[in-house]
Amino acid sequence: MATSVTLQRRSVLLQAVRSFFLSRRYLEVDTPVLLPLLIPESQIVPFCCEGRFLQTSPELCMKHLLARGCPRLFQLCHCFRRGESGRYHLPEFTMLEWYHAGWSYLELMAEVEELVRTLAGNPDDFPGLDRQGNLVREQRTVALHRPWSRMTVDAAFLEFAGIPAREALADGRFDEILVTEVEPNLGWEQPLFLYDYPVTLGSLARPKKDDPSLAERFELYICGIELGNGFSELVDPEEQRRRFEREIAMMTGRERQVVMPERFLASLAAMPETAGIALGFDRLLMLFSGAGTISEVVPLAAEEL
């Protein structure tokens, strides 16, 4: 169970996140969490509740609002994913998600740097930070000053696993190699953005203009831990429909009925070019607190009730 000092830290960080975005003229939104349908994602299993679903991410709702003309949105909300439980996973967790119209993933990476730098600006509040506001974990210091490291997915696979990412993907070993050989090495000197994923691994991301086999998607890593997933959003409804069809095909035989989110696709036509990211708030708080697991930084665990 969280102690009062952990609750205090959590509250400080929540307020600091809000201040950061409000000062940048983002709108805070609180979209519904009980939804009649979800974005089809074959690797994420939702909780079902009387014919509806608990949200696995606020992406569907927030993109609806972007299409209605809200250019900068952020949200702190709970997300629910069945069967995810481990050191860095909980079936219910807190997500920080934000979108900025007119941006690509490059500008968004820069804003992530500024966000984390700013949040680390009061290091006395957090035992996982040193006096200079750098992160300390496992006796190593991760410098948060900008710019952070950047590495393409392909370069990381070659360097840490000796295999091109495309080949790993074709062999069906991409996720396994990523988790066991690549991720543990990422983000120990500075936070690291792993970017340009094979396009099939970015179902909602825009393909790169000069190489459509890659998606403009990035993940943020600090101390080998994945913290956030961002991309230049795909706003082409026809391309998005084809990708959803592929996802839905992979989900046949599941117990739940998967439907094409038609209204979402229709609204996508009105959505401007946008970049968006989902960042695990509990994981960030875990790093700032010097905690070993995210269970240590949530206010209450289901098992305690």
């Binding site: 994602e41 690797q43 994420i44 069967g83 995810e84 439980s85 481990g86 050191r87 996973h89 991409f174 996720d175 396994e176 990523l178 988790v179 066991t180 991720e183 691994l201 970015g202 179902s203 993940e219 994945e226 997933n229």
Partner: protein, 187 residues
């Protein structure tokens, strides 16, 4: 059947007809990627360890394991004979199966025998056992060699280090997990 999402440290599963215990476990899931269940397992018969990553749709049989209270009767050649204290059924395990446990087995000792598919595969001993010292060099007064222990042999033939005041014929308590001396037992 267990599915991958049931895996956790300490769970026992059956793979290729043999029982395994999970000694390390980690759930991983790359963003937008598939759930991976990374495990380290020990074969409960051979003791061999291996690491393996499983996916959501992997399934595991539950091994048929049963623990029974049995009494150690005697050893002959390489075989260690035990009797079920309720059914009086007798079985034996080999020296190799027992490993270091043979150092602490004395006649009539009650132990837990683990059966897999009705075959005995392992024995767990009480944490503390009392054994008689059968050989100990006398403590030479004024010994200035600086050592504060001396070697002794107990009734099972096992040798260990004990404080110098322990004499032949005395009983000592030993921790079976570490094989170390705990205390002298007065009777």
């Amino acid at each position: 059947m267990y599915s991958a999402s049931d895996l956790r440290k300490g769970l026992k599963v059956q793979i290729d007809g043999e029982p395994y215990i999970i000694t390390e476990f980690e759930f991983s899931k790359p963003g937008k990627g598939q759930a991976l269940y990374r495990t380290k397992m020990r074969n409960m018969i051979t003791g061999n360890q291996f690491t393996q990553t499983y996916r959501s749709n992997d399934k595991f049989e539950k091994p048929d394991l049963e623990e029974r209270t049995m009494q150690f009767l005697y050893s002959q050649d390489n075989e260690y004979h035990f009797m079920d204290t309720t059914s009086y059924e007798q079985i034996f395990l080999t020296r190799e199966q027992l490993g270091d446990n043979v150092n602490f087995l004395v006649d009539n000792m009650e132990v837990q025998v683990l059966f897999f598919d009705n075959r005995p595969i392992d024995v767990s001993l009480p944490i503390f056992v009392n054994l008689v010292v059968t050989r100990a060099d006398p403590w030479v007064k004024g010994d200035t060699s600086g050592t504060d222990t001396k070697p002794v042999t107990v009734e099972t033939g096992y040798q260990l280090q004990v404080p110098p005041f322990i004499n032949e014929g005395e009983k000592i308590q030993i921790d079976t997990r570490t094989g170390e001396y705990i205390t002298r037992v007065k009777e």
